[in-house]
Symmetry: C2
Subunit: 251 residues, 2 copies
DNA sequence: CGCGAACGTTGCGCAAGATCAACCTTTTCC
DNA sequence: GGAAAAGGTTGATCTTGCGCAACGTTCGCG
């Protein structure tokens, strides 16, 4: 049950700003299809973009840390975010993955002053961000922004609930199977072999999502590979037979 | 890991309305100290109360069921609510306990049309409720209502996160210890012996909160009783030495 | 190019805790 | 008041998957 020792380096904070507000380059069409902005006019989106900072983070770096003052909120333009908590004794637990197109770091929407967890770039990522002080304005001014945000939160609550239930009632094998399926649903890429998880992911990462050890994940993945269910290289997992994997994850 | 079989009867829906809107009896002072209403005037609270229905539910009955259409939202005036999810194969998992004074069944705040889980009365309870259509009005009209609601949600998210981390990193003994501590914090009653959980709770209930079996809970509780840590009768648990229990729950 | 770090694999033994089973106690309800 | 149901205890056994350990492989960097 206990995830094995330290394992991972302390998450480093992202480096200094690279592209700080080179935002005039960004087109309105980037935001317009995204739920929080879908009901807005082009001009409104322009206004929003003009207030945003844009920045990239290298894989493995943190956008913000748990308990840090929530001075900005973010939108993930590209890549995937891993939301992790770190326990007193240094173990990491991944509570959530956030695919591109979603808001994150929205402590304001939960009535918090600090971020509830650390956001780590799973791959190289591109994010927009706004100062927290604009949150109220956005909620009040832009129709659909608030409601879509709360839907996002609702979905995350649902996902957390699902994890609690899985950990309570499923065996390790089933949890891992389901975790992989969730990942390819959220951010899978079609390949000739099957559906690939579109960001680098280690056995350790998977173990942190499923409350087990990298050893167990490794064994399982090896067994599944022999069986033609998955195919995995270093930091790469391809699900070849999602259906059979889903069957494994049932009951 | 897998919680033992059926165990509990399917949660019955609460009976027919007993006190449907005998609300004129209720005093404004009931709501005024509660966070969602704390910034409101007496007259505003009166208006809110006039629109509410009041009702009691017997212990073990459901106020609403998972996936039911969310036609009302609720305030728990007295008692404790157990929020449970039921898996396909009939196992129950408790995700949360809600103490009196809090809103619940607030699917609207999560952008949902249906309730995400079942709310079961842990003891006899008293609830106010309003039609979902009033949600928007409340949020728009009453200052502090929205922000306090989102704080509540934030707290619940935090609590769920805590559970995920505990299940990922702690052993059964520690999880149970912490679960008991959380319960006495939320709804404990001082007694000469120690602090008592102020609603009836079975070993099975505890096992559903901690992802174990009632057997393991029973053994642990027996051991702790011998040790003077707790004292328990049928459906009753008193924590005699919270401090030592907290130590048990660490690391 | 070669070394070290990060990542991955695999075998073995052991312990935590689930499962099975039997039995007891208290409550409920006809 | 007595049977049945709900709740609780406790022992014996069995399985999962963790801990530890040793080793292989790939990658990145000086």
């Amino acid at each position: 049950m206990t995830t094995s020792g330290a394992g991972k380096m302390p998450v480093p904070m992202g480096g200094l700003a690279f592209w700080e507000s080179a935002v005039h380059r960004l087109d309105e069409s980037l935001l317009s299809p995204l739920p929080p902005f879908s009901r807005l006019e082009r001009t409104q989106i322009r206004t929003i973009l003009d207030k945003a900072s844009c920045r990239s983070f290298a894989a493995g770096t943190a956008v913000f840390q748990e308990d840090e003052k929530a001075e900005r909120f973010f939108l993930l333009l590209d890549g995937t975010i891993r939301v992790v908590k770190i326990t007193l004794d240094g173990e990491q637990v991944t509570s959530l993955h956030i695919p591109s197109g979603q808001l994150f770091g929205i402590a304001q929407a939960l009535g918090r002053e600090t971020y509830p967890a650390t956001a780590v770039a799973a791959s190289e990522i591109l994010v927009l961000s706004w100062p927290a002080s604009l949150w109220q304005t956005f909620v009040a001014t832009y129709p659909g922004f608030a409601s879509e945000t709360y839907k996002t939160i609702g979905n995350r609550v649902t996902e957390m609930n699902t994890r609690i239930i899985e950990m309570s009632t499923k065996h390790v094998e089933q949890r891992i199977a389901r975790a992989l399926l969730r990942l390819i649903n959220q951010s899978g890429t079609r390949t000739p072999e099957g559906i690939e998880i579109s960001f680098p992911i280690t056995r350790q990462d998977v173990s942190e999502m499923t409350a087990t050890t990298l050893h167990t994940v490794s064994r399982l993945l090896s067994a599944w590979e022999k069986d033609g269910l998955v195919s995995s290289k270093r930091k790469k997992i391809v699900v070849c037979d999602p259906h059979r994997l889903a069957v494994l994850g049932e009951t």
